[in-house]
Amino acid sequence: MSDKNYALQLDGLSKRFGHFLAVNNVSLNVREFGIHGIIGPNGAGKTTVFNLLTKFLSPTSGTIRFQGKDITALPPVAVARQGIVRSFQISAVFPNLTVLQNIEVALQRQAGLASQFWRSRQVLGRLRERAFELLRAVKLEKFAGVEAKSLPYGRKRTLEIATTLAMEPKLLLLDEPMAGVGHEDIASISELIRSLADRHAIIMIEHNLSVVATICDQITVLARGEVIAEGPYAEVSKNPAVREAYIGGADA
């Protein structure tokens, strides 16, 4: 059944809230490397798909396979430990920790430095080299000592991507990485994400279609919880069903 070339395979995934079918029979195949975009009008169920993937919600039916293994029944923590790490629609940093500490928290667990309550925080110094490496990669090294809550929005997003990378993920789930980012930062974040695609599988929900057009290898279009089109951008953008969904959804 499973194909080793796919990082992630969704098969017939559905989620029902009461009478409302938020995700309806969604099947997806995501390759091992490259960027897979998910687009669709508001309320199409994109974020719900992410929540199902990371098990923040449990699916009503369907299966999720990661690298050939069925992970449908795993709890969120176990999913994260498999190497599926998500970023959030609203930037998800730890606001009261410094930029450096944000990275440290992401590194701590793998380094076995997470539950020592009897040692000073000084021992985290040994993670510093790796942490600064990550910060340099996203050009945040100058802000290491700044509390995350005082960073401008675009920088919060890059910090978030850096902490995500610290997890050495196999699959990154980026939920609207460009939302709220000023246009001066869009190019650099796009570039950052593109550069990750050589070594990681990335699924990205994004509204900014020009970004999607430039960096995504493969696109899935969702509307009312269902997949209505799939393929490269050029192909998908010509699909009349997609146009209708977007125009029909514009005033909803």
Binding site: F56, A80, F88, A92, T98, R109, Q116, F117, W118, R121
Partner: protein, 337 residues
């Protein structure tokens, strides 16, 4: 002493002010310790001992709420169970005071674990209400259990002797005994908050979903914090039982929980010395208004309201913020939150 042990003051950025900001807390701690050592000669030691017990309870609340983000309205359950068990151990089982205290803390930890089983998946206000309700259940158990002697309470708990020769019946000996435990308790909290574990706990408080997505077993960490906090509140309760030589239902009522909340908030949430300042304020108010005809309750309520409205950072937090501001003005152009 002005550190808020929010991690920001312990960052690594080389600033001109770092040496001062590093030394100031150290100087403060030494000053506070010296003050604590000589205080019984100046102030009524009994009150100071009570103050320390309350400070420990508030430190526990502060750990749970200020660092762990869990608002507990059920501290009475931890305090009460530790007081009763420690009292019972000392009085009926004739155990040494230290053993009695350890047993009391263990009891509180178990209660904390049980609370966690029901409440740990809840956040914010739900967590608060659930702990309140669970504490009522614990109260009921103590009311019904024969060994607590109902409203008469466990009377005449012996203080005993430590190491065979330190007689705790002597009020100065008792004072230094409690002081030692209080210092140990606070050191423990300090170490924990400033440990790798503490960093993860703060991260979880800041953003639970993100911590989960980084692979942390969020509920496990929260449960651990809850149990540790219960143990520390239990330490306060057990010491209090030995100090007053009684353990009563009063320690288990929801009013005892709200008192802990008041002490911690008035002192300053998320600060190390806040609980001490808060305990001093509340014990002082109790004391001052005990002999007036005006109800203490009203005064406490007004102080508390003012704190929430105007000085949300509490006594210590407000003072620290003032220092911070002055320092910021001295170094760069004013920049504050």
């Amino acid at each position: 002493m002005t550190t808020t042990f929010e991690p920001n003051t312990i960052t690594t950025t080389p600033k001109r002010t770092t040496t001062i900001s590093r030394r100031l807390p150290a100087v403060g701690v030494v000053a506070l310790l010296i003050l604590a050592l000589v205080a019984p000669y100046y102030f009524y030691p009994f009150l100071l001992m009570k103050l320390m017990c309350m400070a420990l309870m508030a430190a526990s609340f502060n750990l749970l709420f200020g660092y762990g983000g869990m608002l507990s309205f059920g501290h009475a359950a931890f305090i009460g169970s530790a007081a009763y068990i420690a009292g019972y151990a000392a009085k009926e089982m004739h155990l040494s005071p230290i053993l009695a205290i350890i047993l009391g803390m263990a009891a509180a930890t178990v209660v904390g674990w049980l609370f966690g089983l029901v409440a740990i998946r809840r956040r914010g206000i739900q967590f608060a209400m659930i702990t309140l309700a669970l504490a009522q259940l614990v109260y009921f158990i103590f009311l019904q259990a024969p060994f607590t002697h109902g409203e008469d309470g466990l009377q005449d708990i012996p203080r005993g002797t430590v190491l065979g020769f330190l007689n705790l019946g002597n009020s100065l000996t008792m004072y230094y005994f409690i002081l030692a435990f209080t210092v140990a308790g606070f050191l423990f909290v300090y170490r924990m908050v400033n440990s790798p574990f503490g960093q993860v706990v703060i991260a979880i408080r800041d953003n639970e979903a993100r911590a989960t997505s980084l692979g942390y077993n969020v509920h496990g960490y929260k449960l651990a914090v809850l149990m540790i906090a219960a143990a520390i509140a239990g330490l306060g309760g057990a010491l209090k039982a030995l100090l007053f030589q009684i353990a009563t239902l009063n320690d288990a009522t929801y009013l005892a929980s709200t008192e802990v909340v008041i002490v911690a908030v008035v002192g300053g949430i998320g600060t190390m010395v806040g609980p001490i300042a808060g305990a001093a304020a509340v014990v002082g108010l109790d004391w001052f208004f005990a002999e007036s005809e005006f109800p203490v309750m009203v005064i406490n309520g007004l102080v508390f309201m003012a704190c929430v409205l105007l000085f949300r950072q509490g006594i210590v937090g407000t003072i620290a913020a003032a220092f911070e501001k002055r320092r910021a003005q001295g170094t760069e152009e004013s920049k504050d939150a």
